[in-house]
Amino acid sequence: MKLLELRHLSTHYVSARGARVTRAVDDVSLTVGEGETLGIVGESGSGKTTLALSLLRLLPPAARIVSGEIWFEGEDLLTKSHREMRRVRGKRIAMILQDPLASLNPLFTVGDQVAEPLRVHEGASRGSAWARARELLRAVRIAAPETRVREYPHQLSGGMRQRIVGAIAISCGPRLLIADEPTTSLDLTIQAQYLQLLRDLQRDRGLSMIFITHNLGIVARMCDHVAVMYAGRLVEAGPVARIFSSAAHPYTQALLESIPRMADGRKRLTAIDGQPPDPVALPPGCAFHPRCPKVLDRCRKEAPPEVRVAASHTSRCWLAS
């Protein structure tokens, strides 16, 4: 069952006079099934946030979706009008951002903010929306929701704020939840609480989830599938267990080897040499070739196509084809 399918999506940022084009998302195809969690990993600037914003068509003015299709529940979101998109956002696709403080309005109470999407999308009355808000707070395990609904964001801790953002996201019963690095600003033990909460919500409500992170540990714990991005391209995608055990792309392999493991003690890490590429001046051919330990002559000139390595496991590398 496919809930979401991206076909050859490309989103570019164009600078003021059109002089510089950043291919933030370049020819990305992927699918998310019903009730599945897809992890998107990649380093800073690889285009993860841009991809998520493209799905919701919430891009900044400098961005252009230059090609592709976004199929969600059998409809192409790119053909929808702005009015129709507004009904998709928040109601059928919800999003959680990295910084909980920035996503909450300091001037309104928690209850107002959780109730708002219910009133906008479902036309609920104030009373019933507030009752639902209290239930939602209970669902995200906030103690004493009766008093918390009347408080303002600054009265809550970071972990609680992030839960409130979670409550707002699930308030209209979305089918797909996009979480863009939702735990980066949280403490380790609070992060563990939050991840468990998200998993429980997903199980109870049959949500599909896209989990954007650069923490491979979170992917290992949370996701069914993983998509690895490098310089705007999807370089590898597949089931989590398979990618962790037999990654096909040299970047994924190197990434997995470069993270310290608790069990390995003080063993030397295998580092990836060099720097991430400049997004406006990507290397020709395979963008990873200046850092790739297995680089071939061909990689410097021609960009590799996406190839199927195994069932639902693809890789964008000449070695795989």
Binding site: R64, I65, L78
Partner: protein, 301 residues
């Protein structure tokens, strides 16, 4: 979301944008017009001797109250007319630019050096040094600037150099305030901490790590202060406690010309008034642009 603008309208839009920028009411665009005006004024001030057709301080009584050349009774010899002593208005405006700019720039620079130094000391050293400097600054800022300047001028007597000193003494506090605030946040930056760890002395840290990082704010502030200082200078001259006559200062020209306003001698007031306005406006527009360019945080000044 992924449409491009209609191509046909775009060239006209570009022309409009250019015109708009030229007028420079928009802070993002480089303020062409203000910079042009300022440069012309600076050039005029520098080459006053060459440009002025007459001696600005000597007039012919027979030529009193001549209107500008294009009006009836005007002559080619005095393009912008003459004043109540028969002195050439154009020449006085040209030399007046020199007086205004020299006094303005020097006052702004002196005030800037004093205020920046005290702001850095106050912000970085903290403790009683900070207490003392900030108390003085508060007291200073509580006084109305112009009244204070008049008071000082009355004490030290009029002369161009004294005006510079008075203006610097009145306005240094504005720098001290802003710079101190900057230093307080700079002080918490890691590179300052690392300089302490490296064993640098306080003096070295203030000179090498703090000063270069507040210079931008100092320049922005100086540009914005230029207008204020020039208006104050003109006011002092207008009130007779500024640049002493017969020196050609714009404020002085206004004061001399105001009696003739009733009699229809408009050029004696309108022309110096316009010069002051253009200079102040240009300095402010340039300062605004610099402020946004260098540091958006300074906006709430």
């Amino acid at each position: 979301m992924n449409g491009s603008g209609p191509a046909a309208g775009s060239s006209r839009a570009a022309a409009l944008t250019l015109a708009w920028r030229f007028a420079s009411f928009r802070s993002e665009g480089f303020p062409v017009l203000p910079v042009l005006i300022l440069s012309v004024l600076v050039l005029v001030a520098v080459f006053a001797n060459v440009l002025a057709p007459h001696d600005p301080e000597v007039g012919a009584l027979g030529d009193r109250f001549r209107p500008p050349a294009w009006q009836e009774g005007g002559t080619r010899d005095h393009l912008l007319g003459t004043d109540h002593l028969g002195r050439d208005v154009l020449s006085r405006l040209v030399f007046g630019a020199r007086v205004s700019l020299v006094v303005g720039f020097m006052a702004v620079i002196f005030a800037g050096i004093l205020g920046t130094a005290l702001g850095i000391l106050s912000g970085y050293l903290g403790g009683w040094v900070d207490q003392v400097i900030m108390r003085v600054t508060d007291a200073w800022l509580a006084l109305p600037a112009l009244t204070f300047a008049i008071f000082l001028a009355a004490i030290v007597g009029p002369s161009a150099m004294n005006i510079v000193i008075i203006l610097a003494a009145v306005y240094w506090t504005r720098y001290a305030r802003v710079i101190r605030g900057e230093v307080l946040s700079l002080k918490e930056r890691d590179f300052v901490r690392l300089a302490i760890v490296a064993g640098c002395s306080k003096r070295t840290i203030m000179r090498r790590h703090i000063l270069p990082n507040v210079v931008n704010s100092g320049i922005v502030l100086a540009t914005l202060m230029l207008g204020v200082v020039i208006v104050t200078e003109a006011s002092l001259s207008f009130l007779g406690v500024g640049v002493p006559p017969p020196k050609p200062a714009w404020g002085l020209m206004l004061a001399d010309g105001k009696k003739g306003l009733m009699a229809g001698y408009w050029w004696l007031t309108v022309l110096p008034g316009t010069c002051i306005m253009l200079l102040v406006l240009s300095a402010n527009l340039l300062g605004d642009w610099l402020r946004v360019k260098f540091d958006p945080q300074l906006r709430q000044l």
